[in-house]
């Protein structure tokens, strides 16, 4: 099967400093590839190359078999959902309007937007009757992220990009969100690229884990094989796990 997203020999440098070097990576339809790495490893940069928030210095990225550089950036971005750490919700409009942004940009008729918004808010556990008319500042951190995910799913894009969406949440809420996100992603059959620095999150949500170190792709393995990696960086991440964590995580998966 053709990859939904493909990175080919991608380099990215800014001000002469290399951020990404020679990245080759394919993301198949239906899988969640987690980009795991420390701060500054280049994982967020790699994510932003997909929807052209950044342009590579060299190499190319393909989405649906076509170079992203050849896509109209507006069309490209409307086919890719994007979720960031603080949600990036529009503070001046309601929750329902936030979820409806992309569909309204796409010119859907009002009642279809409303139906889709209701359906999505229900799916993320925020019934529209209670939450639809609220403004983002009236939401908790977890609720904001739920709205962010609903918004990203609105126009039914084949791909989701998530940049540490749960990093700012308290541990309990984070775990709830991770579990819920896993179910949602399966239910909606979405492909996802998920950036995190948290090995637990990577093991819990990833079909595959791509380990980045200093802008290089050090390894890309199935989540269940990650524990077998012997590289220093992989060991460094594995060392942050407590005793029994791996077993519990694989049980949770």
């Amino acid at each position: 099967m053709a990859a939904l997203v493909e990175f080919r020999k991608v380099d990215y440098a800014i001000g002469g400093r290399a951020i990404l070097r020679g990245i080759d990576l394919g993301v198949e339809e239906g899988e969640t590839v987690v980009l795991l790495g420390r701060s500054g490893s280049g994982k967020t940069t790699l994510l932003k190359l997909v929807n052209r928030l950044l342009e590579p210095t060299s190499g190319e990225i393909l989405f649906e078999g076509r170079r992203v550089a050849d896509w109209d950036p507006i069309r490209l971005r409307r086919r890719i959902g994007y979720v960031i750490q603080d949600g990036g919700l529009f503070p001046h409009v309601t929750v329902a309007e936030n979820v409806g942004i992309v569909t309204s940009l796409e010119g859907w008729p009002a009642e279809r937007i409303q139906k889709r918004t209701t359906e999505l808010l229900a799916a993320v556990g925020l019934p529209v009757a209670t939450f639809g008319a609220r403004h983002p500042k009236q939401l908790s951190g977890g609720e904001k992220q739920r709205v962010g995910i609903a918004r990203a799913l609105a126009a039914d894009p084949p791909l989701l990009l998530l940049d540490e969406p749960f990093a700012a949440l308290d541990p309990v809420t984070r775990f709830e969100m991770q579990t819920h996100f896993g179910q949602l992603r399966k239910a909606f059959g979405k492909t996802a690229i998920f950036v995190t620095h948290d090995i637990r999150e990577a093991l819990l949500l990833g079909t595959r884990i791509a380990l980045l170190k200093d802008g290089r792709l050090e390894a890309c393995v199935k989540a269940e094989e990650f524990a077998q990696l012997r590289s220093p960086e992989a060991s460094a991440f594995l060392a942050t796990l407590g005793g029994g964590d791996l077993e519990r995580l694989s049980a949770a998966i």
């Binding site: 928030l53 950036p73 960031i84 529009f90 503070p91 001046h92 992309v102 500042k137």
Partner: protein, 198 residues
């Protein structure tokens, strides 16, 4: 100095202010949007507008006289120049102050440059822009009294007449309504501003 004269000069004063602030906003809004896109142009323009602001109003009126003569047009033009700074600066600050995550999301959702301006940047900058309108209006109400010196009319007419006649009551007939007008404008625009804070 009858009540009816106070009323008509107050109305004239208000007109002068309204037209000046309105014209200044028409100039400031598109200019500010342009300035948010160009760092160098922004620094240069704000510097120039800042300098204009430091010119004493009587001096500026005097400076414009040889070119434009005595009259309402000269008065309005001078008031526009003064109103520009708060409007320009607040609009620029308001747009640049929009949260980076919100902007990034807007771009990533596939909004065009124009949609981002109208649906994200301007609505979110609105409270700050309104604060600028408030400052501009209140200061223009004050400055407009001096416009009477160059034939602008308005409540300044009383002030200058009173000064010429050394008559405190006539001065106050201009100064008090102007002060009340300034306070009222401040209150009303402050109330609108609070309505729009997110």
């Amino acid at each position: 100095m009858r009540l009816s004269e106070i009323a008509s000069l107050s109305a004239e004063h208000l007109w002068l202010v309204a037209i000046a602030v309105w014209v200044a906003m028409l100039i400031a809004a598109p200019t500010a949007v342009l300035l948010t896109r160009h760092v160098r142009l922004r620094r240069a323009t704000l510097a120039v507008v800042n300098v204009v602001q430091t010119i004493p109003s009587l001096a500026l009126f005097g400076f414009l006289l040889p070119f434009l003569g005595v009259g309402k047009v000269t008065a309005v033009l001078a008031l526009v120049l003064y109103a520009l700074l708060p409007l320009l600066r607040n609009t620029v600050v308001g747009i640049l102050g929009v949260d980076g995550g919100v902007l990034e999301s807007a771009v990533a959702m596939g909004m065009t440059r124009r949609q981002i301006l109208w649906k994200v940047e301007l609505p979110l900058a609105f409270p700050t822009i309104l604060a600028g309108v408030r400052i501009a209006t209140v200061t223009t109400i004050g400055t407009a009294t001096i416009a009477a010196a160059i034939g602008g009319g308005g409540l300044g007419t009383f002030v200058f007449r009173g000064l010429a006649m050394a008559d405190t009551r006539t001065i106050l007939a201009g100064a008090v309504p102007a002060a009340i007008m300034a306070i009222a404008a401040d209150e009303v625009l402050g109330w609108v501003e609070r309505k729009f804070s997110y």
